[in-house]
Structures are given as C-alpha cells and as structure tokens.
C-alpha cells in the first residue's frame, strides 16, 4: 500500500495529465525512523565531554582541587595501579558485581519461568515479587547487615535483588503476554507442551528478557556503587571513601572512571549479544 520512493528523479503518475507543473518530483514522505546508525556513534558523546574537560583544564578554568585535570587523574590511576591497590580494589568490586549479577540473573529467569509458564507459580510468585519491588531495595541494607553481617554476603544479596527484579518483571510480562494467535497456531500444528514452550513461548519472550537484562546490568553497578560508598571495607568504593577523607579528588575521579568504563563495557556486551540473538528483529528495525 505504501510505496517507498527511493529515487529522487521519479515523476508523479499524474504528471502527463496535469502538465501545469512540469515533471514535479514525488514528494518524499518524511522519514520517521532515525537514519542509519553511524559506527561508533555512541562514543561521540563521551569523547566530546572528555575534550571539553581537557580544554577547560588546560585553560585553567577548573579549580584543580575540585576537578583535577584528566592527566592528573591518569597519573594517579597509574600510580595506584603500580602500587597494586587499584587492581586489588577493582578485582574485589568486579567479583561482587559479577556474583550478585549471576545470582540475580539466575533467580530472575527461574522465577519468571515458573510464574510465566504455570498458574500455580504465578499465584505464588508474581504477587510476592511485586511486593518486593514496592520496597526500595537499598532500604533493606540495615536489615540485611543485621541478618548477614557486614561482610560480602549482604552486599551480594542486595546486588542480586537489584538485578533480579527488572529481569523477572520484563521476562514474566513477555512470557505471559504471548500472542494468542501463536498459541492457536501451536495447537493447530500439534506441538507438544515442551515444543510449544521451547519454540514459541521462549523465543517470543526473548526481546522482553533483554530489556530486563540491560536494566539488571545497570542495576548491578548502581547497587555496587551505593553499597561500597556506604559500607565500604574494601573495593573501589572503599578507595573513594578513603580519598574523600583526605580530600584526594583525583583518586575519587579514578574510581568514577573505572565504574564508568565497566558500566559501558558491560552494557555494550549485552547489546552485542542481543543483536546476535535477536537478529530476526533487524528486518523491522534495521
């Protein structure tokens, strides 16, 4: 029905009948989808910010004790790296984030499957998770410290909760929102229950799962930052907390940069996996 004119030299079919305007060009529809994505466009924004920082520092517009110059941050970073404290702190933080994320991911998926695929599961799980969601997870910190002590366990537990909730919610919504036309199709094609779940329900729910996954990845970093800032005994947040006491803004910035880099990397990794797994969607969103 809709004709996409791709050439600008096209003339209207009505042109010979109405010679008033000679060889009028077909009016092109306004393109509503944003154009083709440029490679590495996502890096342009951060690069601009970095450039502004460099220029402002070099011009002496920034108070070095509030915002140190990028090269100062780099120097501090390499000094801490050589001293061995930075790698240790990074490793500790990564371990926490990764463990909490893995537990949250597994829990989110299993709960979503149980509640999205069975009525009993839904009755037991869905309301409970929504109740859990209504309580701000970071508000649980004091209670968890009392229950689990101020060690690693409570931090991982909090991160896992921050991660599992968006993964559960989005996956469950996708699983239970399966198009009824596809259910009918599966019945007509005599699919078994297992075939139906594996070939129709789960692939159809993957886009929703990835939305949750990306929120979960972001959540794991957010949880980590908050935990390490408030209850730091080791890790990147501890490093920044100490630096605050001594007024070392450059160390704080090193910590922020590391958080930022890992956040960006993990999000990009999820995007790449998503593009691969959902390659069929490219026909719609190209």
């Amino acid at each position: 029905m809709t004709t996409h004119t791709t050439t600008t030299t096209h003339t209207t079919a009505a042109a010979p009948l109405a010679p008033v305007e000679e060889a009028r060009q077909v009016r092109r529809r306004r393109r509503l989808a944003p154009g083709r994505r440029l490679p590495t466009t996502r890096l342009i924004g951060p690069a601009v910010v970095l450039a502004l920082w460099v220029v402002a520092s070099a011009a002496g517009l920034l108070d070095p004790s509030a915002i140190p110059a990028p090269w100062t941050v780099l120097e501090t970073g390499s000094r801490l790296w050589d001293a061995g404290t930075l790698p240790d702190d990074i490793l500790t933080s990564l371990q926490r984030a990764a463990t909490g994320f893995a537990i949250g991911l597994t829990g989110g998926i299993l709960l979503a499957l149980a509640s999205g695929l069975t009525r009993t599961g839904e009755a037991l799980i869905d309301g409970t998770v929504n109740l859990n969601r209504a309580i701000p997870t970071l508000g649980l910190i004091p209670l968890f410290i009392l229950w689990l002590g101020i060690g690693e366990t409570f931090k991982i537990a909090i991160i896992a909760i921050v991660v599992y909730i968006p993964i559960y919610l989005n996956t469950h919504a996708a699983l239970s929102g399966i198009d009824s036309r596809f259910v009918e199709l599966a019945e007509v094609q005599d699919l078994s229950k297992v075939q139906f779940i594996r070939q129709v329900v789960i692939p159809g729910a993957l886009p929703g799962f990835f939305v949750g996954l990306r929120l979960g990845v972001t959540g794991s970093w957010l949880g980590l930052v908050v935990l390490e800032q408030i209850n730091a005994t080791s890790g990147l947040g501890y490093m920044m907390f100490q630096a605050q006491n001594y007024g070392q803004t450059d160390v704080i910035l090193v910590g922020l940069v590391v958080y930022g880099v890992f956040g960006l990397l993990s999000d990009s990794a999820v995007r790449i996996i998503e593009r691969r797994v959902l390659s069929w969607r490219r026909t719609l969103s190209s």
Binding site: F182, V188, Q189, D190, L191, Q199, L206, L278, W280
Partner: protein, 244 residues
C-alpha cells in the same frame, strides 16, 4: 473432478446437530453437514454469521465455547489463517517445519516451499516476505503435513486482487495434486464460485443454501454460465438488485 465419483468414500467431516453459542446467543443452531473426502467446499456468509465459529469447531480450537452436537473430523487437519501467522523468529523453512519431525522432514519442507514458488527463500525471515509470499509460506506449512482436511479461514482476505487470483490458481493446483478435503471460508462470492465444487451459505446459524457447482476447471471469472450461480448465492446472502 465430477461430484458423483466422490460419494463412494466415507465423508471426511460429519456434523450432526452442531450447536455453538456465546453468552446465550446462539451462533450455530444445529448444523448437519457432511463434507465428502477430497472435495473443495467454500463457505459463505455474512460477517458475524458464524463461519469462523464453525471452522474453529471443526479444527478443535473452540475450548470453552458452549455447545452440543456430534462432530467427526480426520486425524490430520491443517488450518490456514487470514494472516500468515509465521513466527517472526524462525526462518521460512523452520516455520514450514513447525511441529514436524522425522528425518526427511526438511526435504519435505523444501519441496513444499518449491511447490508454492518460494524456492530459494528458505532462509529468509518472515519479516522479509511480501504479504502474498508470507501466505504462500503458510500454505506450504499446512500442506507439508499432508492433511486429510484443510481448513482455511479467509486465507486470501488480506491480499490484493491480482495476488488473490494467482493464489486461487495455486490453491486449486495444490488441491488437485494432494486431494485433501478443503473447507474454505470466504467473503468473496466469485472466489467461491471459481474455486469450489460446492458452496455453502451459512445463514441464521444453519446451512441456508447448499449449491453444487458442476462446471469444469479451470474456470474463468468471465464465464457467463457462472453468473447464474452468482445470482443464487447473492440471493441467499440477501443481496438484491437495489443493494447494488
């Protein structure tokens, strides 16, 4: 195929007093119907007359609908819907093979795609097909299971007039090759006349007219002799001269 050679075999579909109602409103009101094996039957009726309800009852898709009556249908039934209903996350061949297993399944799937003129598109995503191509893929998916009964609910309803005519030719050709019993629901009187050996009109929950179309195939849309059938069908549908 002349209709008189068909009554030897047991009917493929047998309905006795089939009743279906929604919230107390009777949609099918005691339908008795035999569909002989290997016959191509078209079902006409006003919008809302219950054509889809009847088709879904025969397909066994009407869970939870209140009704009574007896119904017997073959083991292998395929359904073609108005939309192609291809799963967007499976490539075309994988869609055709949905629910099919066995080691020569893939070969059969490829053959079915070739039959509907989609050879070479096996690895396309459904989102890359045109409406007509998608519907042909859906036809391949239903044929690859070698159905004894093919139920089609306005399968060409969403297609343009030219593609429709081409699909009519294809459906007739496929039917002649595989000989399933076909029940084709349509709004289009001409489509029914050109394709079917028998045309039923559903009216007030019953079969209001049962018309055998005893003309050789392929039939032309311009054949004046078909005009007589058209008049009778339109009359049964309540379309009179002043409506046109």
């Amino acid at each position: 195929m002349a209709p008189h050679t068909e009554q030897l075999t047991r009917p493929a579909v047998q309905l006795r007093g089939l009743t279906r109602s929604f919230e107390g409103r009777t949609v099918l009101d005691g339908i008795d119907l035999d569909l002989p094996a290997g016959q191509l039957t078209a079902l006409l009726g006003h919008s809302g007359s219950g054509k889809s309800t009847l088709l879904r009852a025969i397909a066994g898709l009407d869970h939870g609908v209140t009704g009574s009556g007896q119904l017997s249908a073959p083991e292998r039934v395929s359904v073609v819907f108005q939309d192609s209903r291809l799963l967007p996350w499976r490539r075309v061949l994988a869609n055709v093979l949905l629910g099919l297993d066995g080691k020569d399944a893939e070969r059969r799937g490829r053959e079915a795609l070739e039959e509907v003129g989609l050879k070479g598109r096996e690895r396309a995503w459904p989102g890359e097909l045109s409406g007509g191509e998608a519907q042909r893929a859906a036809l391949a998916r239903s044929l690859v299971r070698e159905p004894e009964l093919l139920l089609a609910d306005e399968p060409f309803g969403a297609l343009d007039a030219l593609t429709r005519i081409r699909m009519h030719g294809l459906l007739r050709e496929l039917w002649e090759r595989h000989r399933p019993s076909v029940l084709l629901v349509t709004h289009d009187v001409d489509e029914a006349i050109v394709l079917a050996d028998r045309v039923l009109v559903l009216d007030q929950g019953r079969i209001g007219l049962d018309l055998t179309i005893d003309r050789a195939h392929p039939r032309s849309y311009r054949d004046p002799l078909l005009g007589e059938y058209r008049e009778r069908l339109l009359a049964a549908l309540g379309v009179t001269e002043d409506h046109r």
